[in-house]
Amino acid sequence: MRKDSEFSNVLEECLERLLRNGETVEQCLERHPEQSTELEPLLRTALDVRKASAIEPSAEFKARARYQFHLAMTESKPARRLWGWVFRQRWQKAAAIILVVLLAGSGMAVATYHSMPGELLHPVRLTAEEMWLAQTSPGIARAEIHRELAARRVEEIVYLAEREDRSAKIERVTQRLYYHLATIESLAAAERVLAMTPGEVTPLSTPDTAAVEKHDAVPQAVAGVEDIGEIGPEGPQGPAGPAGPPGRITLTGLTRAGARDARWIQFRATLKQQEAAHLADLRNLLPVVPESARAALLTAIAVAEAGYERAIEALEQAREP
């Protein structure tokens, strides 16, 4: 029994070295020559098990799960335990909301809008952002707000990096930037799920946005969809091809799907432009930023690059059939 226990310890020591430190089986065996005959087959089996365990979640599932997770977080309002703390937190939020309302239209509202991290009015601005997001339903409208807020976060990083060593603040703003971009990715993934519902599979690759906006013809992108929306006074009509009658199709059903496509296409294009501009802005700072803030800035660049790329990729997949 004792011998078994000793061998279990040796095996575990070798596994730790193999799995975590990247040692080879041969190196482990050299450390324990007296047990090498018994150890070797077990270590090789353990390595095979690890390879068989390399099961990665699909990108689509990750995006869908992330979206659900964000929704759950938004819906979950933690109850505070300490009443004093509750009062303080709620009071602060209420004060911020009152300030936002009172300041609307005044010069202070402008000051709040332009406030930067570390400034007195900045928490008010962040609260206003939360209110703004909370009042917007999930979808393209919320994605637009997150895009604007991501742009704002990059402005804040540039502001902080140009002034003094504020690496801790840059890191916090970078986390918010990540949050905005990850939410765009999640919203795009949810859009893909919506796009897969029957009657609304509309590939992004063949848009005819002008036609959608005019409502005078069915765009190619949605031709073939069974639901044609409301029927005009001239009577029922199928999806209108080039030879079809110019019937009145209002903005319901398929035209609404086409209009939604158009907005997402525009959104993706804008996000791509924003990505290029933001990465350039952040990279231009590298030569001038103090050494102490360099690491935080490099992290911000990496987060921005990965976040934008993932969001754009999710948008590109969003309306693919």
Binding site: L42, D48, K51, A52, S53, I55, K62, A65, F69
Partner: protein, 186 residues
């Protein structure tokens, strides 16, 4: 550890960014663990999603007493897996082929398994022949990449007991795979 403690504290106060960070750092490992245990991708996806939704709902109940947050999260996952396995214990087994194939090495050949005679499906099927406790240890240790101490904390066992289960599990796997190879030869 200090960073994670800080993140958990912030998440408990409703900081969504902190919770999102915790989510990102644990998501893949939870999925791998669940997938290896249940052997079905779609079911693993549902369970993984449920684990994190439960975590959102109950994070305030987590108390930092030296037990890592990951152990708490894996306990939720383990309970979900156990519930799921109980529910389908009398149902037919789902083909393991739904899981992805074994990664291919740089040489272009699949990584060699035991004596080059078993493939990844065989290995996963072999894991399912172990005792529940051995499967648990093997999944937590090799797919979730947790330490012996973490596995012990999740399973409520001593580290010595977990090492022993790991030892017994690997020996049993070796035996099952060798037997399978012999059968194929014969």
């Amino acid at each position: 550890m200090q960073d994670e403690q800080n993140l958990v504290h912030r998440a408990q106060q409703g900081d969504q960014e902190a919770f999102a960070e915790l989510y990102e750092s644990h998501f893949d490992r939870i999925f791998r663990y669940v997938a290896l245990r249940v052997g079905n991708r779609m079911e693993a996806e549902d369970i993984t999603q449920e684990v994190f939704l439960k975590a959102v709902r109950s994070i305030r109940s987590f108390k930092w007493k030296g037990i890592p947050f990951s152990a708490w999260l894996f306990r939720i996952a383990r309970n979900e897996v156990i519930d799921s396995l109980r529910k389908k214990s009398r149902q037919p087994t789902v083909p393991l082929s739904e899981l992805p194939p074994i990664p291919v090495s740089s040489s272009g050949n699949p990584h060699p398994l035991v004596k080059h005679e078993v493939d990844v499906d065989q290995l996963r099927a072999a894991i399912r022949q172990l005792t529940e406790a051995q499967q648990e240890v093997i999944s937590l240790r090799f797919s979730a990449e947790l330490s012996i101490a973490e596995v012990a904390s999740i399973m409520g066992k001593s580290e010595g007991a977990v090492k022993s289960l790991q030892h017994g599990g690997i020996i049993a796997l070796r035996r099952i795979l060798s037997k399978g190879g012999d059968n194929e030869k014969g």
